[in-house]
Symmetry: C2
């Protein structure tokens, strides 16, 4: 297959970095054209792999000249189909994975400038080797890229203390829809010179520009990290525990995850080798402290909070990790929930956020409605309570085919859940983004004024609609 | 003076809230038409004081229908002339000061929703009365409004730990240029449903929309706050001390201010009653700790850092406050610098930011050039080193008329300073914004790509240019 754009791209990037479907075995293109959960199968005009910002800009200019739309892609670990092409065979898939340079680490300024294709773990490691911390941490960190993390404003397990990807970024380099390069790679903590372009590109999923590099915030490495589990009789009690821990530990509290009984029951079923120190409880909380003084201070802090919480009847039991390996085992429990869910079969996932104060009411209302309308459906509810972020997933009743349940009920389940989210002042996408998956839902749920503003911005920065079209807006 | 717009506004707002120059003594209008430093004297068509978001929206719609531009104003404490009308007599000055409702405090969610006209101190007090902290703190806090703080992305003394106004805001309510109301008052810590409209309005100085209310982040009140002074022989030593304090104290380090010898000499001259515990030193650092455990723990932390720094030769001397009043006295020293400068006479102010690591080189280079080109000029250099933010102010040589010096040299001094700021990767406006004062400078200094993006956004959201025209872009 030839196309004048492909003919123009080959000399620019070299043949090895212009992959054309049909001319190559499908297997070489699948990693780019299909998302990792295999929900979206696209077909690109070509996959291009520029190696420099200049090449990205040149690709965008060429694509623009040929009226071809461009879909940027990082590690292809997204959950909403935002980074794979549609199946028209007319879009250019622009992979940023070759842009892996660590450009500059400035220890005194606590900043690190990296290219978009750096894998998150590589960024973490680079900081660690300098005795510093880049705190963004999430399940896909071994393969997701920092450019993708920023384009989707990724969250993860350390948001409570350090914020989302947005809060961890001081500056960006972006290729605009016109193929111009905006060098906004500032290492500044204060800069009030005009509109906040940085935060407009962050979370825009490549629809307003292509992030090619970023200057990230680093932090001193805490001297100790320690984990504890606590058992609560109700979700309200977990919210009370959060308040106590925040008040007592302040910024040292870096993790606060909740897991309902159903979540840990699935883990027990599929991974019986994993110890569950507190046994089966209505709610289990994982708390993490990152301490600047050391392990004994962290232990003291934990004991202070947890003994008070026991005394006040907020928790029924607790276990503080005695070693690093016990800490890791506690995190492993939490991280095994999505894997246990996969083992159990397909489920209907909801990545939602609510004001922390309204979570107990939301869950009571939503659990009730789902039990009524879909008797026997199992609620696997877990997540980052400290950030108000729940992964509120609905699994088919035991013995019912998951595929059948999804086919019949997915839309109706989503309607119940999202109606309740909206009624409780929440968000239908906490950290996964919109992409293709939730674009229609967003158009229904977001205020018309906000949608109009978003469309005006898209129209202003990408008037021909060539950057990741039909995603987000 | 009559104008069809005024005739339409009176029944909407009531006569008491439509102030028309000419019809009223000038003194009633001066607080709106002139900035507090008396650098900008405007003349409005009228000053309107809506009391509700609905009224703000109705005013904007009416103004739009009459093709009249609108200048929003909060506490009128800005430093760049962003909130006063021009002198054409054709602009509507929209004061938000009557919008003072505290709408909702959600202690479990650590959020506070207030209207734009709330004075910052009122916001701080509301949080404190609930046992919580709203950390934004700056010199004008007794009269500036939260709407103005957000519209200018204010900084202040607690940015090191808590961030700028931007980082302290979770959601906004905004009246758009079309007079529509965007209700984005979310109390969510994670929300990835589309473009980041919030951060686009924050720091836009009322040129893209009018902020009418905000949902703010609160924090637990720290149990103790403690202050220390340290003497350093060089600016590099202050940077080294910052690194040591951050590594040891982490997020407990809430303040890190530097003051050069000239700054404290002016304080000694004009406020001789203020004790200067360390005497005259090349550089004095004020450190503040906010501790979740208590005073003795904070003291332990300070003693750990400072004794290590003494041992390593990073500091020459230190004094830890023994009481709250000693802490306050230390802050008072720092806060007296701008006042001492005013007593000494006019000076050329620069609110700049740099990567912390480059500050020593910048100051050496810039001090050198200014000494060469303007012999005897005095550098009053102080600020929030922890944020990379210096107030790098140039005072006339002793004995030379300040007014004369400014008149002759202001432009040339600015050129030297801003050239050096740019050469060292800095920003010409760290926390004060652009307004009228730096608009031309910004157009010269900002990258053409960034300026083009800013103009496209302005054009998209306010195509008729009726919101605070000729400010920022």
């Amino acid at each position: 297959m030839t196309h004048p754009l492909i003919d123009a791209l080959r000399p620019l990037l070299g043949d090895a970095h212009v992959l054309v479907p049909g001319a190559l075995p499908d297997t070489e293109l699948t990693p780019y054209q299909q998302d990792w959960r295999k929900r979206y199968n696209g077909r690109a005009l070509a996959v291009v792999r520029p190696g420099t910002t200049g090449e990205v800009a040149a690709v965008v200019k060429l694509a623009r000249a040929h009226g071809v739309s461009v879909v940027p892609q990082g590690g292809n670990t997204g959950l909403v189909g935002g980074g794979v092409p549609d199946d028209s065979g007319t879009q250019l898939l622009l992979s940023l994975r070759r842009m892996q340079k660590v450009r500059h680490l400035d220890a005194a300024n606590l900043t690190l400038t990296v290219e978009a294709g750096c894998v998150l773990q590589q960024v973490q490691d680079t900081a660690r080797q300098a005795g510093l911390l880049f705190p963004l941490s999430l399940a896909a960190e071994g393969s997701c890229t920092i450019g993708g993390n920023l384009s989707t404003n990724a969250g993860g397990t350390q948001v409570l203390r350090y914020g989302n990807a947005r809060e961890l970024c001081l500056g960006l380099e972006v290729v605009t829809a016109e193929g111009e390069i905006w060098d906004g790679l500032s290492g500044l903590r204060k800069d009030n010179t005009g509109y906040d372009l940085r935060d407009l590109f962050i979370g825009a999923e490549g629809t307003l520009g292509i992030i090619t590099a970023a200057t990230l915030k680093l932090f001193p490495q805490p001297r100790a990290r320690m984990t504890a589990l606590a058992a609560c009789a109700s979700l309200s009690a977990t919210v009370a525990l959060l308040g106590m821990a925040q008040s007592r530990c302040g910024a040292s509290l870096t993790g606060f995850e909740v897991m309902n009984a159903q979540s840990l029951a699935l883990v027990a079923k599929h991974f019986p080798q994993l110890a569950q120190p507190l046994g089966a409880r209505p709610w289990t909380v994982l708390l993490e402290l990152s301490d600047n003084e050391g392990e004994s201070h962290a232990r003291e802090q934990f004991e202070g909070v947890l003994s008070q919480a026991l005394e006040d009847g907020v928790i029924d039991d607790a276990a503080v990790a005695e070693s690093l390996s016990q800490s890791q085992a506690m995190w492993h429990l939490r991280e095994s929930i999505p894997l246990a869910q996969s083992e159990e079969g397909l489920n209907i996932k909801h990545d939602i956020a609510l004001p922390v104060s309204r979570i107990p009411d939301f869950v009571a209302a939503c659990d009730g409605l789902l039990a009524e309308r879909f008797p026997g459906s199992r609620l696997v509810n877990f997540g980052h309570l400290g950030d108000g972020n729940l992964h509120y997933n609905v699994q088919s009743p035991a013995g019912v085919s998951a595929a059948e349940f999804l086919k019949t009920h997915e839309a109706a389940v989503n309607a119940v859940v999202y109606d309740q989210v909206m009624a409780h002042g929440g968000s239908i996408s906490a950290e996964h983004g919109i992409g293709q998956l939730k674009r229609e839902e967003l158009a229904q749920r977001k205020s018309p004024v906000a949608l109009a503003l978003m469309r005006q911005i898209k129209q202003a920065l990408d008037p021909r609609g060539l950057l990741n079209p039909n995603r987000v807006v």
